[in-house]
């Protein structure tokens, strides 16, 4: 691949630009509050783990991480399992209203969460799911299911149709063909779709905060409330922030070899 002159410098500068604010957050999470407020230091002079200790020992803090992971995982499972058959249908068949249906799905990916915050609150309160991980997981389906269908459709279209026909000639039933042949063939696509579902569910806050109050509150919401209630505990805020970055960083590390093709959503 041909690159441009000065590419090392450009890339280096951009990576510094990306990492500097994150470094500042990490730096701050290891400082005492006195050091944060009183002096400007580029690295913690009196490093402390007190903020992390507080988060890991206080249940109201660490339960937030568990709540968040709970609805993110639920949402990813629901999204992928309903999107797979639909992706196959869109990729292989023409049927009444297919194009309109596809556009309608896509338009839901683009719908602003702020529009849905209040109606979702009413809806999930009415059916008794309010303040459970299920409410958030289902609510996040509105943007994750269309995205998963879109990504998986690209990957299914990359599988030659002859494979379907051969399998059916060999006497495979449709469900068996689907599970035994198709799913393994597009495994990397499923990985990419799961990555995106995880990502968008993990980073979303507005709906997650509106649909929970006590027992299923996500970490992101706990951060905003505890901090503003107790004045500005910058060190604790920074430590909580660092801990929300870690799951994302882990997921990226696992899919790093698929990132490039994955971001093209299977359709370059």
């Amino acid at each position: 691949m041909h690159s441009i002159p000065g590419r090392r410098l450009i890339m280096g500068l951009f990576l510094i630009f990306l990492l500097l604010p994150i470094y500042w957050l990490v730096n701050m999470s290891f400082k005492t509050n006195a050091e944060i407020v009183s002096t400007m230091t580029l690295w913690p002079h009196t490093p402390t783990l007190q903020h992390y200790k507080r988060i890991f020992t206080d249940e109201s803090w660490y339960s937030g991480y568990i709540n968040s992971l709970e609805y993110v995982v639920l949402n990813t499972i629901i999204s992928i399992s309903v999107a797979l058959p639909a992706a196959y249908a869109f990729s292989r068949y023409r049927f009444l209203g297919d194009k309109h249906l596809f556009f309608w799905l896509l338009s839901n990916r683009m719908a602003p969460a702020a529009v849905y915050a209040l109606p979702f609150f009413n809806l999930y309160s009415a059916i008794g799911l309010f303040d459970t991980p299920w409410a958030v997981a289902l609510a996040h389906c509105i943007f994750n299911v269309p995205l998963a269908v879109w990504i998986l459709e690209g990957f299914v279209s990359g599988v030659p149709r002859e494979i379907d026909e051969t399998a059916f000639l060999d006497g495979y039933s449709f469900p068996r063909f689907f599970i035994k042949i198709l799913v393994p063939l597009i495994a990397s696509g499923i990985g990419v779709a799961a990555f995106f579902c995880f990502m968008f569910s993990w980073v979303e806050l507005l709906l997650a905060r509106t649909l929970t109050s006590v027992s299923a509150k996500p970490i992101a919401a706990i951060m905003t409330r505890t901090v503003s209630a107790a004045g500005m505990d910058w060190g604790l805020l920074a430590a909580a922030g660092v801990l929300t970055i870690i799951p994302g960083a882990l997921v990226i590390w696992f899919v790093r070899n698929y990132i490039a093709s994955g971001f093209a959503l299977g359709r370059v």
């Binding site: 990306l18 500042w24 068949y93 049927f95 602003p112 269309p146 279209s157 960083a249 959503l265």
Partner: protein, 300 residues
């Protein structure tokens, strides 16, 4: 690839249809219902017809003025970040190392901001930009630039825009990189034999190959910036004054802050309609671009 007509495919689509309809159509019905009514609390509702919509589109009323002002701000914001992120993303994609472990390292670092929860992105920039405890604010003030995003409108805007560039340029870059990687090496060799300049290679080979992913990138970035809420809300809270109040922030203020359900619902519908129209335009352009490419490939 020719698709066969098969109406039974609807059974495969049905689960998706049900899940999305449950979370999209049902709530939207509530919104439509509210948008025609007025409430004075106590769950009492009064019929208001198209009153809210008239008010919404009339800049002389309070509601209309606020809506149109936030809409203008939001459009300006989306255009600015697109004008920065798309060219920058292309440059970054072209600057990617060719091989070795640095590729993976760059990809991981690039993807990192995308997986940070949006309110944490706001928190990071809030901390980073504060004149008293943040590196950026401190350094800027130290070299004599009077920078304070809490009280100065322009500083607040710059902070929100730089934050968005920090947050989302990687998405454009990664999409473009995926497009660039799909170009066979033979194209470049041919260009070299023809003595093509660097610029000609970019215009004739790389840009056309990135066309499709760039469209996806522009669509995603436009939509997401058009409904941006969390990041500016955490950093500036929509202020100073109303200077960084975007449409979503205004909407949440009216709906969950004032509990003015009728106004909020009317605003939601108009907001949704704008997004739907833009989405449709992009979708049509995208499918047409795909349709045009096929005969060309057949000819080549």
């Amino acid at each position: 690839m020719d698709k066969t007509v098969n109406q039974k495919a609807w059974f495969l689509v049905l689960p998706v249809f049900l899940v999305v309809a449950f979370s999209a159509v049902l709530p939207l019905m509530t919104v439509v219902n509210y948008s025609m009514q007025d409430t004075f609390g106590n769950n009492q509702f009064f019929w208001n017809g198209v009153g809210w919509f008239k008010e919404l589109l009339d800049p002389s009323t309070d509601l209309g003025g606020r809506f149109l002002a936030s809409l203008g701000r939001n459009l300006f914001f989306s255009l600015v970040i697109l004008a920065i992120e798309v060219p920058l993303g292309i440059v970054i994609a072209l600057s990617m190392p060719r091989q070795g472990w640095t590729v993976a390292a760059c990809l991981v670092i690039l993807a990192l901001p995308l997986l940070i929860p949006w309110n944490v992105v706001g928190t990071i920039w809030q901390i980073f930009g504060r004149p008293d405890i943040g590196l950026l604010g401190y350094v800027l003030n130290a070299i004599g630039i009077d920078y304070n995003y809490v009280s100065n409108e322009i500083d607040a805007w710059v902070t929100v825009i730089v934050m968005d560039v920090w947050h989302w340029t990687s998405l454009v870059a990664l999409l473009c990189y995926a497009g660039l990687k799909s170009i066979p090496e033979a194209y470049y060799q041919a260009a070299q034999i023809d003595g093509a300049s660097r610029w000609a290679v970019f215009k004739a080979i790389q840009l056309p190959k990135m066309n499709r992913v760039l469209l996806i990138a522009v669509l995603l970035r436009f939509m997401d910036s058009f409904m941006i809420y969390t990041e500016p809300f955490v950093v500036t809270g929509g202020g100073p004054g109303n200077s960084t109040t975007f449409v979503s922030i205004e909407l949440v203020k009216i709906a969950l802050g004032q509990f003015d359900l009728g106004k909020a619902a009317a605003l939601s519908l108009v907001y949704n309609l704008i997004i739907l129209i833009v989405c449709w335009i992009f979708y049509t352009v995208m499918t047409n671009a795909g349709a045009e490419r096929k005969p060309q490939e057949g000819a080549a």
